[in-house]
Symmetry: C2
Subunit: 432 residues, 2 copies
């Protein structure tokens, strides 16, 4: 058999999710997994109760119909759409109705559907902000769509480079059809886009007829309440934004429930206009037919127990992340008091799951393997998030699902690894 799959990006997400099983005894700062302590069987069972009750009392289904909806085939667009739309409206000022929402098997399926629906690989390119979560690049590679990397400034994507890329594509008879961006504590850099940068990006999008694919995954996880500016989608008056969300972090990853907000009317090649959400739901019949309604029900039940609110659920979950972030920053300060002399520095994120450490040594997969074996601590090479090179002397630490004790012990081990490597390495900061 000739196996035509050969893009290394296809392996990247799998690596992130599976590395822990290779070093089960290591403390793992690797995967961006949510903290799930307390989410036991009784809680999930209660969530299912909540959804069934909601189905009957709010949606008016009979108990039999409510149960059947969970075990049978269902609409490809999903069964928790109105719940999600209500929360997006009430919590985040996004003017969405149930018809504008499609439930997907995680955000990943949403990426694939949006790109397949809107891109003609012969002429449409996808721009994305680097460093970048590999899922979106992977979806583009799956579909043979060319991509353009836009570097990230401290407050958001470099709009000058983006504008230039649009012009370059146009000059070549192509177009940049969309930009993928995660304005809220992006994975992996943890950057938050300022309100001003958001306004400027929306302006540019209107001028360049550029669709913005806004990944809202980490919006709930700010250290300070009210510090996250309104989302691109909430400010979107011209239909230039498609928002992608997930319940993997807010509820639990094992549900595999994500969603898209796409109220735009899209022109079909065969004439007529229809809602983009409807086109995406139709196309979903070719990928997964529908998202497990059992999984949708359990995840949505957790939301219902938080008053049906994504924001309230986020606040309940967020306490852990705020404490973990502070604990990691504190641990690094304590275990690497001489960081400046060593040429080591790290970000001080105000939200998200991630912190980035820079050091004047190569921090690649070989270094990771050595660190895992010899020091018992895992992290992710930042180079995994740069498709065209970059990040070779940086690593990403996920502090999201560890306890504070693990974080402290992990930071001790990491400090030991970095210090030993630095002393053994001929590389100096000057060669970075």
């Amino acid at each position: 058999l000739a196996d035509v799959v050969d893009d290394p990006i296809f392996s990247a997400i799998g690596f992130l999710n599976e590395i822990m099983t290779r070093y089960p005894d290591a403390i793992s700062f690797a995967p961006g997994a949510p903290y799930l302590d307390g989410l036991d069987r009784a809680v999930l069972s209660d969530a299912l109760d909540a959804f069934l009750k909601h189905s009957c009392e709010v949606e008016g289904l009979s108990p039999t119909a409510a149960w059947k909806r969970i075990i049978e085939y269902g609409p490809s667009k999903g069964i928790v759409n109105s719940l999600l739309a209500r929360s997006l409206r009430d919590d985040y000022g996004i003017q969405a109705t149930a018809d504008d929402v499609v439930v997907t098997v995680g955000a990943q399926e949403a990426f694939l559907l949006i790109l397949r629906c809107l891109f003609n690989p012969a002429k449409d390119q996808l721009a994305y902000v680097v460093p970048c979560f590999p899922g979106i690049r992977g979806a583009a590679a799956f579909l043979g769509i060319n991509t353009v990397a836009i570097p990230e400034n401290p407050a958001g994507p470099d709009l000058g480079v983006l504008r230039e890329a649009c012009a370059t594509a146009r000059a070549a008879g192509q177009r940049i059809a969309a930009l993928y961006v995660a304005p809220d504590f992006s994975n992996p850099s943890g950057t938050i886009m300022s309100a001003r940068a958001r306004a400027e990006l929306l302006e540019l999008a209107a001028e360049e007829e550029l669709l913005l694919l806004e990944d809202s995954t980490y919006g709930f996880s700010a250290s300070e309440v009210g510090s996250v500016p309104p989302s691109l989608k909430a400010r979107d008056t011209g239909g230039m934004v498609v928002q992608i969300g997930t319940l993997s972090k807010l509820c639990f990853p094992g549900a595999r429930v994500g969603f898209v907000v796409a109220e735009q009317m899209a022109r079909s090649a065969t004439g007529g206009a229809r809602r983009l959400a409807e086109s995406l739901a139709t196309l979903k019949n070719m990928t997964t037919v529908n998202t497990s309604p059992l999984a949708q029900a359990v995840a949505a039940g957790l939301l219902l127990r938080a008053g049906g609110s994504l924001a309230v659920r986020g606040m309940i979950q967020n306490g852990h992340y705020v404490r973990s972030r502070a604990a990691l920053l504190d641990a690094l300060d304590r275990h690497l008091p001489d960081a400046a002399e060593l040429g080591i520095s790290w970000t001080r994120p105000t939200g998200g799951f991630f912190l980035v450490v820079d050091a004047p040594i190569v921090l690649d997969h070989a270094a990771l393997a050595a660190c895992a074996t010899e020091y018992g601590v895992l992290w992710t090479p930042m180079s995994d998030f740069y498709p065209d090179g970059g990040g070779s002397r940086s690593l990403r630490l996920s502090y999201s699902y560890l306890t504070q004790t693990q974080i402290d012990e992990g930071a001790t081990r990491l400090a030991r690894f970095l210090r030993t490597r630095l002393l053994a390495s001929p590389t100096t900061e000057g060669t970075r």
Copy 2:
């Protein structure tokens, strides 16, 4: 926005699954949905217990690890692979190990992954047997893969046409890379491929270097025990068969759990050989990352309660289908005793979920709408299963999920509809 999705096939599966909601009071012979009475909440809860117990007692996980596996991110290849492999070996003589199996979000995701992994759309074509389940054609259309329709004879695909199609493709510098075939009571025709036809097809596959994509969905549903010949995969000695299965009918559709058996070693374009199952699992990171482990656990728990056996679970479920099939055949005989004079005939399936009725009138979507509105009964136009025309005077009846009372009432209504239409129609049998 310009929406590039314009292939009518994308709407076909959605139509099948959603038509019932448009005519909630009609008796629906439309969707191929399984019979789920008795599958209540206690049964699913007990299934989850069974899987957690198995995780600990057989797989040696701690109770905490067993629970975490269900709610966290997991391996893209799945968590119930060894269970499935054992049953495929013990029940069906398929020499599969856990490493050969990938769990997918229904059979549909399996189609998409296999085609993306093995096909180069510039030169590889997919053959499929018509009439054909739209999902496989849809996956091909999603990926821009050209298809070739191979007509079905009473005992299986027309091998003469298939051989000719292979030669034609080769002469044009292309190749037919695979044939999609459902040997056991295929959807929609209900045909079962004879043992001899299976042997001949395997021989042709070896000669033509043609991969066989074997859909095993309905293998469990024979009226007579032991009447289904061994699967193509069980007879496959040369690695020419990839089998696709689903737990949607055996367990419940709301789980969205399917699987692929692909032990073949495949050559990668970047060199090296790896197991096709591994390539598919890697690629799955770009579509859905992993299949909801909660859904996998509940579906697999139902198998465990049947001794971990797909075949035993199939036998438990099959009683209903055997009775329904007999009930529908009996009802048609009683309500259309003059069928021969009217030019109406129907198949007498020995397994599967479907029966096909032929009549000398047009049975298209307009006829279906009229029948639903005026007679309160739904079915599926067979033309939906013929991409290049055909089936315009045939309809498919799914008898799978109705009660015997509904089947009898539905057959009465259908007979009334056919009789009235025939009398009103100027068409005679001669013009068919």
